[in-house]
């Protein structure tokens, strides 16, 4: 076997497998599994001997290949269900390979398209240079997106002395949703009972979050809660009356 090709050119174990299939001029739907497994393992061994970083995924596929090979060597088990008899142990792998191959080809065809800033270019002049009379704002603007938002937050948190206190989790954000909802309604209706806040949708999760949101708002001194008698309705008011 000749090793003239560079070993780090594979984009993953499926890519290596596709390469071996092409190299041996094999029909992808009828892979001689013993041959391919042997070559695949040989490549892994070589990569290891060259101290190349061998990602876990390569070993996982090696295990899969060995497993398929052993299955194909076994004679059909007596009494096995009719339908399973026809099942090719390679089927799942073949399907995965075909799928990966399709996307690999799609990636190449994307790359062959006329690309912006490689094959064609848009107006180079900045916006404010387009007309003599108008002085545009020079500040760089960011088009908004969720990724940009969380990245901005991360930048700030990274600069803090105690970033751990800024750790946010899904729970806290869900609570913020409920808090916003309560504040909007309080603004409109000036006072509300706990029952009114929960409304028609009496799911457990919603009740808990409503309760937690009210506690949080009381802690923040944003709402006050009163109860008329031991079993009376709990009424919630804004802590500060807007004039």
């Amino acid at each position: 076997m000749s090793y003239e090709i560079k070993l780090d050119i594979f984009e993953g174990p499926l890519d290596l497998l596709l390469y071996l299939i092409r190299k041996n001029e094999i029909d992808i739907t009828n892979i001689p599994i013993a041959l391919i497994t042997a070559q695949y393992l040989e490549y892994l061994e070589m990569m290891r001997s060259l101290n190349l970083d061998l990602a876990g995924e390569y070993l996982l596929l090696a295990a899969t290949l060995v497993h398929i090979k052993s299955k194909m060597l076994l004679p059909p088990v007596e009494g096995e269900l009719e339908e399973e008899e026809g099942e090719d142990p390679r089927a799942e792998l073949v399907q995965q390979l075909l799928e990966y191959q399709a996307f690999k080809e799609a990636a190449l065809s994307l790359d062959r398209r006329p690309l912006l800033d490689r094959d064609l270019f848009t107006r180079g002049a900045p916006e404010e240079a387009l007309s003599a009379e108008e002085g545009g704002e020079p500040e760089a603007l960011i088009e908004v997106g969720v990724f940009e938002l969380v990245a901005a937050f991360r930048r700030i948190v990274a600069g803090l002395e105690r970033p751990e206190e800024m750790e946010i989790d899904a729970e806290k954000i869900s609570l913020a949703d409920r808090i916003n909802e309560i504040l909007v309604r309080l603004e409109e209706e000036k006072q509300l009972t706990f029952e009114e806040l929960i409304g028609e949708r009496r799911e457990r999760r919603r009740i808990i979050y409503t309760f937690l949101a009210i506690l949080e708002l009381m802690k923040l001194r944003m709402v006050r809660a009163y109860q008329s008698g031991p079993f009376g309705a709990i009424r919630i008011f804004p802590a500060v009356e807007e004039e």
Binding site: Q96, E105, L120, F121, G145, A151
Partner: protein
């Protein structure tokens, strides 16, 4: 040149992103969607007939002036910096997202057979991919999709312009 065509030329030229026909219709007085479309047609034809260095491209759901691909060697001489190319790993990840969107990261990992975290982050930073939302399954994983900038960079009118995947059809019949 017809005055309205001239205004459209100025608007498309001044716009930072591809300008939609809807936006043009909104700005131009006394024009409906159909009128704008035929004025745009006229402008596209005019640039074609001139045979100059730029043309009016229909891209990412809008219109934008772009240099002809034959001009690329000269412009590359002007812009000394090499354009930032995508690595094969990034291209494959992008292809999976483009064809299968909206989808979660574990699905991309599965198709490519590797952990795509690094490639995915790079695509998010380049604004070719965006966070679309969360999937309503346990763990609420983040869903990804391509951006308008993806269409702009790959010179696509819309996603339906992506070439179809021949093999995917085979797969569907096989499975």
């Amino acid at each position: 040149m017809d005055e309205k065509v001239a205004i459209i030329e100025a608007l498309v030229f001044a716009s930072e992103a591809p300008l939609t026909a809807d936006k043009i219709t909104e700005i131009l007085p006394g024009t409906d969607r159909k009128g704008t479309a035929s004025l745009l047609e006229e402008l596209i034809r005019e640039y074609e007939q001139r045979g100059g260095g730029i043309f009016l491209a229909e891209v990412a759901g809008g219109f934008q002036f772009r240099t002809r691909t034959e001009m690329a060697p000269w412009i590359r001489k002007l812009k000394a910096a090499r354009p930032a190319m995508l690595s094969p790993a990034a291209m494959e990840t992008l292809a999976v997202i483009a064809y299968r969107q909206p989808l979660v990261k574990s699905e991309i990992d599965r198709i490519r057979g590797v952990d795509v975290s690094g490639a995915l982050k790079g695509l998010l930073e380049k604004k070719l991919v965006r966070i679309v939302g969360r999937k309503d399954v346990p763990g609420k994983p983040i869903i990804y999709g391509t951006t308008r900038k993806f269409l702009e960079v790959f010179n696509l009118k819309d996603l339906s312009e992506l070439p179809t995947l021949r093999e995917l059809k085979d797969l569907q019949t096989a499975s």
